[in-house]
Symmetry: C2
Amino acid sequence: MARPNSRDRELRERAAAVIPGGMYGHQSVGLLPDDYPQFFERGEGAHIWDADGTRYLDFMCAYGPNLFGYGHPEIDAAYVRQLGLGDTLTGPTALMVELAEAMTAMVAHADWAIFCKNGTDATTMALTTARAHTRRRTVVRANGAYHGAAPWCVPRPAGTIDSDRAHQILCDYNDVASLAAAVAEAGEDLAAIFAAPFKHDAFIDQADPDPAYARRARERCHHTGALLVVDDVRAGFRLARDCSWSRIGVQPDLSTWGKCIANGHPISALLGSDKARKAAGSIYVTGSFWYQAAPMAAALATLRLIRESDYLERITALGERLRTGLGERASAAGFALRQTGPGVMPLFLFEGDPDLRKGFCFSSEMLARGVYLHPWHNMFLCAAMTEADIAGALDTPEGAFEALTRQIRDLARGEKLAVLSAGAR
Amino acid sequence: MARPNSRDRELRERAAAVIPGGMYGHQSVGLLPDDYPQFFERGEGAHIWDADGTRYLDFMCAYGPNLFGYGHPEIDAAYVRQLGLGDTLTGPTALMVELAEAMTAMVAHADWAIFCKNGTDATTMALTTARAHTRRRTVVRANGAYHGAAPWCVPRPAGTIDSDRAHQILCDYNDVASLAAAVAEAGEDLAAIFAAPFKHDAFIDQADPDPAYARRARERCHHTGALLVVDDVRAGFRLARDCSWSRIGVQPDLSTWGKCIANGHPISALLGSDKARKAAGSIYVTGSFWYQAAPMAAALATLRLIRESDYLERITALGERLRTGLGERASAAGFALRQTGPGVMPLFLFEGDPDLRKGFCFSSEMLARGVYLHPWHNMFLCAAMTEADIAGALDTPEGAFEALTRQIRDLARGEKLAVLSAGAR
C-alpha cells in the first residue's frame, strides 16, 4: 500500500540544508516509522492531508491543540474578525479582560489569569510564582513527567547545565511514599509540588491519578505553605470543563493551560488562586505576542463551545468505543494490547514489544490505510470526529493486524529502540 | 485636553479583579504617565485607537512588531489564506522550509534557522546551543541589556533563584576593556558572548555599537571557540536587511529574531552558522504552536516586502526628519533633548530631568494631541508612516512644549522615580 511521498522526500532534503537535523521538537518524525510523513499541507475537521495529498483521520490532533476540528468555522471567524480590528498592538484589548473572566469563571480554583504563548511559559511562571510566594527554592515533581522544554525541565539535557535544574527533587507519580519522602527531603525549602493531571509520559503505559496521591500532595502543600501546581497544558478541557483534578476533588493553587484553549491558535495561560496573586504580580514575565487580541477572540469562542456544547460527553463516548473496538479486534487477531490513560487521550502498546517493532509495524499499516496513530505518545480525540469516523477507524485494524501477522517473524529489531529506551525516563 | 477614558477605567477595574496587578509585562502602563490608556480597540497602518475610541499616531508600533503597518492587507491576507488551509497541524508545512530558506538567504551569517514563538525562546536556545557546542558554561553579556524574560536573563529577579543566573559574567556595553576583563574571567569556560545590536536599555541614553567593541567580541569568540550571539529580536530588519551588525562588518555565529519578522504575527527565530549546526540539532526545543503555518506565510510575505520595497530607506529618512524637527522645536521652546540611538528606533530624554517629570509631562501633552510617545523606552517607526504623519507629529510639539513651560514650576516630583531608577540597571 505505498503512498506517494516524493514531495515529502523533497521537502526533507531541502529542510536538511536549512534546519538543524532537518526538523526539531515534538513534531519531528525522527522517532516514528520511516514511512510517516514529515510535512503536511492541509487540515479540516478531524483530517489532515500530507504534503503529497494523502488524507488521514488524525488521532494526534496537532498533539492536542485541535479540540473542535481543524479550521473550525466559528472559532476561526472570531480570529479573523479580530485580526481585521487589531491583533498585536501597543497594548491589550478588552478581550484580555473578558478571557481572564471567562477562564476564572470556568476553572473552580482560579481567581486570576496570566496569558502567554507556550505551555512552557506557563509552567515556568508557575515555578517562579511559587518561589516568589514562598521565598523558597525546592520543587518536587515526578520522574519522567513532561512540564515543558525550558532548561529547568527539558527532558533531554543537551546544552543545559546542572544549575539549571538545581533545587528540584524527583518522586514517582502515584507513589505516595515516594512523594512523602521527596517532600520530607525538601524540608523547609519546599516551594511547590508539580503534578501532571494523569501520568502521560511518552514510551510507557499511562496511569490515572491515584486520588490518595493527589490528596497527599494537596495536604503537604497546605501543611508547608508550598503551592500545588497541576500542569493541565496537555490534558486541559479534554477531561473536564474545569481543572482535570476537579474530577478527583483536589484543587491546586496554580494550574497551567495551553494547547487547545483556542483550538490551535497560539495562547497559553497560568491560572491561580488568590493566595498566589501577589506573588504572580511580582514576577516579571512578558513576550512580544502575549497580548495578541486575535487568539484571545478565538479562545473566547472555544470556551463558549466548551461550556455550551456536549463535546466532552461525545469525545468521551467516542474514546470508549475506540478502546473497546480496538481491544476486540486485537484479541480476534491474536494480539494483546495494553490500553492506558483516559479514552480521549489514548495510548496503546503491544504486550511483549519492548523495542516497539510490533507497534511500529501496526502503526505503519494503519497509516497506509488512512489512520494516523502514534506508537508511543498519547493520542487525542477531537469533537470533529464522528461515530462514522470511529467506525471507519475500527474497520481498518483487521487488515493491519493481518499484515502485522504476516510480517511478524521478519520484523527487524526496532532500530530506534536504544533511542526510545533512553527517552523513556 | 481631557480625552474620554471611562471605558479604559472600567476595563482596568475589571482587570484588577482577574489579572495580577491588573496588567503585566512590557505593555503595562504602570510606569507611564497616569493618563496613558491601558486598553486599545483597533490598529490600522500607523495608528491605534484606545478603548475609548481616541486615535493616536503610534510611535511604539506594538513595541516593535508593527513594521509595515497594522493590518497590512498583503501580509494579513497571506495569514488568513493559510489559516483556511491549515495552521497548527500534526506536523509542519512546506512553508517552514521556505521560510528557513528565505531567512538564511537574507541573513549573511546564517546557514540554518529554528523557529519559535517568543524572543525569549530564541535567546534561550542561543544560550543552550552555545553551551552544547562548547561544552562550557559561562556567558558574557552586558549590564542592563534586555535579552528576554526567562529566569536566566529576566531584568527583575522576583521568583528566580541565584542558580538560574549561574555562570554569567556582566560587562559594560561598548567598553572594550570591560569586555576583555569579563572574557578573561570566564577563562576556559567561555561558551558565548551575547550582544545587543546597539545599546537599547530602558530609562537611559541609547548608544550605537562601537565597532571596536564588536570586533573584539568577534575576535575573542574566534580565539576561544565560544559563540558570538547578536540579539536582534528588537532591532532586526529596522537597521538592515541583514543582521544589524552587518552594518559594522561583524558577523555573529548565532542571531535571534522576532518582533517584526511577520509584522506582528507570532513567530521568532534563532539563526546560526554551520559551525553551530550540530549543537543546535542536539538541544531539545519545542512548543505547541511553533510549527503554525499561518505566521510562516505572514513572515514570507513580510520578508518579500523587506527585500523588494524601499521601506528601510523610507523609515530611515522619516526617523532623521523626526529627530531634526523635534530638536529644532525643543530648542525654539528653550528645552534641550538628548536624542540617542538610531533614528528609526528613537529615544529622547530631557536634559536635567533625572526623575523624568518633564518627560512625563511632555509625553502626556503629546498624547493629548494624538501622538503616542514613550518617555523612557526606545520607540519605533514603521513603513506605514508617511511624510505627512511626521509633519503632523512635528506640528504637535509646539503646543506640548508650551504646556510644559506653563506647568514646569508646578510639576510634581516624579513619583515613579524610585521605581524607574531601580529599573535602570
